[in-house]
């Protein structure tokens, strides 16, 4: 029954120059041009953006939440990657 449904697109918006594009939601559109136009109408009615990216949702590949422990936890015990791990003598400035 989904034959007639337009494809789903994910929408990313740059809120102002100098900031990165951020995911804001999704919408349906027949093609990329229409997706950008629809994103303008749906997600930027109040000057929320200066640039829009759209990506057809089927092209997004995501990490699996079931694997997130094995995937992300190895970073948890490497405190030496953070500057606060190191003690700097009080008399040392500019470090």
């Amino acid at each position: 029954m989904n034959q007639s449904e337009w494809p789903l697109w994910e929408v990313f918006i740059r809120s102002k120059q100098g900031l990165d594009h951020k995911h804001v939601g999704s919408l349906h559109a027949a093609d990329a041009t229409m997706a950008v136009q629809n994103a303008r109408d749906v997600y930027t009615r109040r000057l929320e953006g200066v640039s829009i990216w759209v990506v057809e949702s089927k092209h997004i590949h995501a990490s699996n939440p079931d694997d997130s422990e094995a995937f992300f936890d190895p970073a948890a015990d490497k405190v030496y990657r953070h500057p606060t791990f190191y003690e700097v003598p009080e008399s040392i400035k500019h470090m």
Binding site: M1, S4, G25, M34, A62, P65
Partner: protein
């Protein structure tokens, strides 16, 4: 070493995350009933935004000034946008847009009963903004912290936009109340019509709302229907007084002990009649939706054909 997680069932782990206020995201494991409840609630919410355009759309061509017309157009466009944010959030749970629309059009899915009441005069536009959107905001603000991430994020957007809706409605009422006696009478009549249906927007009494307990446990809901209804009355009675209008309930009275207003009982027979499809405009609203969908079919098909043609042309150039 056996961790706590290993001895908990998936349901218990899920509830533990909810209790710790960790948001649930689309690909996370969730109980089927949680998914079903959310699909029902979010799609009903989306349908309400969509059908909610109709009573106000009724007044766009008859707005009393260009300013009011521009405001009303912007507001109705927002309602369409809110519907789209919410449909997208529901789709992350595995349902489709086509399925949700089919359920709306067949009458299987519900939408807020408030939109089954007619908008008879311009003052009703004031009441829809001031009262109906005011009630919607009370319902929606706690939903910005609901446990399902995409729903909460959609609600943050909706709430940001909704406060303009309420303020413009209040301004319409205030303008009428400061106008000629006939205009003020019009405002009072509209308040008389909308007061009780708005109180019904919060849903049945807690005692008659079997889903509330589970929804509170899952932190989909953060307040009960009766709690929100009380908040609404406490918020609105002073605003009506400011306008010089009388809330059509002789039992409304400040209760010093409770630090809240006492108020009369909603006509629950009317509430259930409208929910079951026997309100003044149920048939008209649904028919308008079905007609819009069917009359728009050729546009959707043409856009698909155009996209396919352009894709084929692009492929031919690349080859």
């Amino acid at each position: 070493m056996e961790t706590l997680e290993q001895v908990l069932t998936p349901e218990e782990q899920f509830q533990a995350r909810i209790d710790a206020d960790v948001r649930i995201e689309p690909k996370d494991w969730m109980p089927d009933a949680y998914r079903k409840t959310l699909i029902r609630q979010i799609s009903q919410h989306a349908h309400s935004e969509l059908v909610g355009m109709l009573p106000e759309g009724n007044w766009i061509t008859r707005a009393p000034s260009l300013k009011r017309k521009s405001i009303l157009l912007a507001k109705v466009q927002d309602e369409a946008g809110h519907g789209l944010y919410l449909y997208s959030a529901a789709e992350t749970l595995g349902t489709t847009r086509d399925q949700m629309l089919a359920d709306l059009h067949s009458g299987k899915a519900k939408y807020s009963s408030i939109f089954n009441y007619p908008t008879l005069s311009w003052a009703d536009m004031g009441c829809v903004g001031w009262l109906v959107d005011g009630a919607a905001i009370l319902n929606q603000v706690p939903l910005c912290r609901t446990s399902y991430g995409p729903y909460a994020r959609a609600m943050v957007r909706v709430c940001k936009e909704e406060s303009f809706h309420q303020r413009q409605g209040f301004e319409v009422m205030q303008t009428l109340c400061e106008g000629a006696p006939e205009q003020k009478a019009m405002a009072q009549e509209a308040l008389n019509r909308w007061w009780w249906p708005t109180l019904m927007m919060f849903g049945p009494k807690d005692a008659d709302s079997p889903n509330t307990e589970q929804s509170m446990k899952w932190r989909i809901k953060r307040f009960t229907n009766d709690e929100l209804r009380q908040k609404f009355v406490d918020m609105m009675v002073p605003q009506a007084e400011f306008l010089g209008l009388t809330v059509p309930d002789p039992l409304v009275k400040w209760n010093e002990e409770r630090q809240a207003y006492d108020f009369g009982e909603v006509n629950w027979d009317e509430f259930w009649a409208v929910v079951k499809g026997n309100g003044l405009c149920n048939h008209e609203r649904l028919q308008a939706r079905v007609d819009a969908h069917e009359e728009g079919a050729w546009v959707r098909e043409a856009a698909n054909a155009h996209a396919a043609k352009r894709a084929a042309r692009g492929a031919a150039v690349a080859a």
